[in-house]
């Protein structure tokens, strides 16, 4: 039982935090979002140079064989600085899928490119009628010659508009909600028949609705087992959810600091508002939510890579519920305790709140994970 970080982890955490404080200020972030590119080339380059883009991959692919806890440290730092770069989409989702299911040729081709910052990818998985059911895939993949034809539509694909390549889940057999029959394909985003509608998300990211109208791909596009991608997707989404919990933790820590500082400085009735007991007790509840969320975010990060799938799923879903509840409570209280100024666009508070709220709407909301945990208990 040990909750401390290793020297390497502490170093990674500190250097990333220093870099972000310097280069990813609230103002700099605002400008980047305004540019609408969904990706900042110099930040991406710097993350590659720091080894962050290859962190989870094996050394032979230019990585550092990072653990779930390593990814947590990165995502927590990103959460604190509200980073909007496509790290989750490219490194953790697509990199993770290729790493777990890809052939050695695919891994040797893609992972070093991701690690070096030369590949931007997105995971085209969610669908309009799926809502939070991540087994639900109605996009079809039919064999044609030695290759396949993809037909269907993917919804709210994070960084789908910026990605050069898409990892697409598509079904060759079974009902849309069946757990079996789904395959993964790497598709060039510029392929004939791929149509993307790129848009801004409310929390400063980019996403896209993507149509696949009889997109022809060859046999080498298949990643992993044909019609057998379900367990890979489940595993990678668990890791992604653990990472989202870590990102939320960073944002929650920032909201806690900002709100506590405000209680100590904002004067009303001639005294700092933090002298009022009703606000003190509210802030204590913020702290308790934060610490309980931290406990399960750590737990999920530690077990995100566990080979025991039941243990992994329980840890991740528990965290998504606990962190989700904390995100909701702390977000609402941060605005309330800031009063009117908390409602404004110019203050960072609202931006943390928006990101935290959207994390709850990504890869399973609180209810989805509550139900998943209950089914495993």
């Amino acid at each position: 039982m040990d909750f401390s970080f290793s020297e390497e982890q502490q170093l990674l955490k500190d250097s990333l935090q220093r870099y972000l404080e310097r280069e990813y200020s609230f103002e700099a972030r605002r400008k980047r979002i305004k540019a609408g590119t969904g990706l900042s080339a110099e930040v991406w380059r710097a993350l590659a140079d720091m080894g962050v883009l290859g962190l989870p991959f094996a050394a032979e692919y230019g990585g550092f064989a990072g653990s779930g806890v390593d990814s947590m440290l990165v995502m927590e730092a990103f959460g604190r600085s509200l980073v909007v770069e496509p790290y989750l989409a490219t490194v953790l989702l697509c990199g993770g899928l290729i790493d777990q299911a890809g052939s050695s040729t695919q891994k040797a081709y893609w992972l070093p490119r991701i690690a070096a910052g030369n590949a931007i990818m997105a995971f085209a998985h969610g669908e309009t009628d799926a809502r939070h059911d991540w087994c639900y895939v109605s996009t079809r993949a039919e064999r044609k010659g030695s290759g396949f034809v993809l037909r269907g539509r993917k919804a709210v694909v994070l960084h789908g508009g910026q990605a050069q390549h898409l990892l697409v889940s598509a079904r060759s057999e079974g009902e849309p909600s069946s757990a079996t029959g789904v395959s993964l394909f790497i598709v060039d985003a510029g392929s004939a028949g791929v149509q993307r509608r790129d848009y801004a998300t409310i929390d400063g990211l980019r996403a896209a609705e993507i149509d696949f109208a009889n997109v022809e791909i060859d046999a080498t596009a298949l990643v992993g087992e044909y019609a057998g991608a379900a367990s890979t997707i489940d595993s990678v989404l668990d890791r992604a959810n653990a990472a989202l919990c870590a990102e939320a933790l960073g944002a929650l820590g920032a909201l806690y600091d900002l709100t506590l500082a405000y209680l100590k400085t904002r004067q009303q009735f001639g005294v700092p508002i933090g002298t009022f007991q009703v606000l003190q007790h509210r802030m204590v509840d913020v702290l308790i939510h934060l610490e309980q969320a931290r406990s399960l975010a750590y737990h999920a990060a530690f077990y995100a890579h566990a080979s025991d799938t039941a243990l992994r799923r329980r840890a991740v879903s528990a965290a998504k519920v606990q962190v989700g509840d904390a995100a909701r409570f702390i977000s609402q209280q941060a605005i309330q305790l800031h009063g009117g100024i908390g409602m404004t666009e110019e203050l960072s508070v609202g931006h943390y709140v928006k990101r935290l709220t959207m994390i709850n709407a990504t890869f399973g909301n609180i209810d989805t994970h509550l139900e998943r945990f209950a089914a495993l208990a």
Binding site: M1, D2, Q280, D285, I288, Y303, V321, F373
Partner: protein
């Protein structure tokens, strides 16, 4: 970071488990698991078993009879005892007054009282609260006036848990009305058989006799029973609170209770299907289960920061608030689970030797009373509002 216990810790857990399995009397664990009434003798029998093994006071220094265990070992010990359905060791002696006597008592006090705590020869109770002094404890008025080599004690304590069983009471008494009110308080050990000491039961809303009033009417207490210095009682009381924190969240015990709830809700039929299949009920149970898992880790994180040598801090208040909220949530869900069978009230059914026929399922009998009884947890030991004040001041700096 590593959530697993070390091999040594796992081996230690096995050792404790094996001991508890072979030594915990079945009639006692059955009472605990079925929420039956525990007699004084049930507590004492189990404590004497721990005493003979040398495990009665894990937190004490070895030279006074402690075990020398690490904080993690103590945690594992408590967990194994709880999982097996052992009664909680009564805290007042071993976890409360014991550490105060060790830290501030005279050698004579240590030689007399500590062995009697270890062997359960003395049952202790705590004389803090008074009718006019609840959360504002420093306003207490029970007076101890020096008369030769005795103090003459007059006043009234209240909410004194299990005073009806007690041989000794440790009291905060006022020895001076001068200066700051905290500085007029002393820490006195009083024999319950002293003439002038009387105990009157208070029956709580669940019908139980758990707490009492303790009256002092010219009770003569030898000055040798003063702990430390006169007027320093408040300091010792605060020291005691920082030692009371061990196991404050009682996570292991409530994991056992939650497992009981889930088993019960699997058996109970609700309109023709098991209650656990009801999505609304299941969601409530699951939320509590997740919160309890979070609390278990929060508890271990606090323990780990202790091990890293940081001073025991106000994090204990977080554990107290969250722990009691979850205890209350679980007792409430248990009552909710049995539906209308929450209504029948047969106090005699709470005694293990009762051989009558229960109304409804046997497990239902104690649950409503228990729900009412557990409302106490957010009040005692410093109300949860006082805990929030402590956190606001000492962690938030407000």
């Amino acid at each position: 970071m590593d959530f697993a216990f070390t091999l040594e810790e796992a081996a230690f857990r096995e050792e404790v488990r094996a001991f508890v399995r072979s030594h915990l009397p079945v009639d006692i664990s059955r009472k605990v698991n079925e929420h039956k009434h525990l007699d004084k003798d049930d507590f004492v029998r189990w404590q004497k078993i721990l005493y003979r093994k040398g495990w009665m006071a894990p937190g004490w220094p070895v030279k006074f009879g402690g075990t020398g265990w690490t904080p993690v070992q103590r945690y594992l010990f408590e967990e194994e005892c709880a999982v097996a359905g052992a009664p909680s060791v009564i805290s007042f002696g071993v976890n409360m007054v014991g550490p105060v006597i060790i830290a501030f008592g005279t050698p004579a006090q240590q030689q007399h009282f500590l062995p009697r705590i270890l062997s359960s020869e003395d049952w202790w109770c705590q004389g803090y609260s008074e009718p006019g002094s609840g959360s504002d404890l420093a306003s207490l008025r029970t007076r101890a006036v020096r008369d030769g080599d005795h103090y003459i004690v007059n006043g009234q304590k209240t909410w004194t848990t299990l005073a009806q069983h007690a041989d000794m009471i440790f009291c905060l008494v006022r020895t001076s009305s001068e200066g700051k009110r905290q500085e007029g308080i002393s820490f006195l050990l009083i024999d319950m058989r002293t003439p002038g000491v009387s105990v009157r039961p208070i029956i709580t809303l669940d019908g139980a006799h758990e707490v009492n009033e303790v009256w002092f009417d010219d009770a003569r207490v030898p000055i040798g029973n003063l702990v430390g210095e006169e007027g320093k009682g408040w300091t010792y009381a605060k020291f005691l609170l920082s030692h009371e924190r061990s196991g404050i969240a009682q996570v292991a015990r409530w994991k056992r209770e939650l497992a009981f709830l889930k088993r019960m809700a699997g058996e109970i039929q609700s309109g023709g299907k098991p209650l656990m299949a009801d999505a609304l009920f299941s969601a409530k149970v699951t939320r509590v289960e997740i919160e309890l898992l979070a609390l278990e880790i929060t508890d271990l994180r606090v323990l780990a920061s202790d091990r890293e040598g940081r001073a025991p801090g106000p994090e204990a208040s977080i554990l107290k608030i969250k722990g009691t909220e979850l205890q209350q949530a679980i007792t409430e869900l248990m009552m909710e689970a049995v539906g209308p069978y929450a209504l029948p009230f047969l106090p005699e059914a709470l005694h293990a030797d009762w051989d009558g026929t229960p109304v409804g399922p046997a497990f239902a009998a104690p649950l409503a009373a228990r729900y009412f009884n557990y409302r106490k947890t957010s009040i005692y030991g410093g109300s949860n509002e006082i805990q929030r004040n402590i956190i606001a001041q000492r962690i938030l700096g407000l």
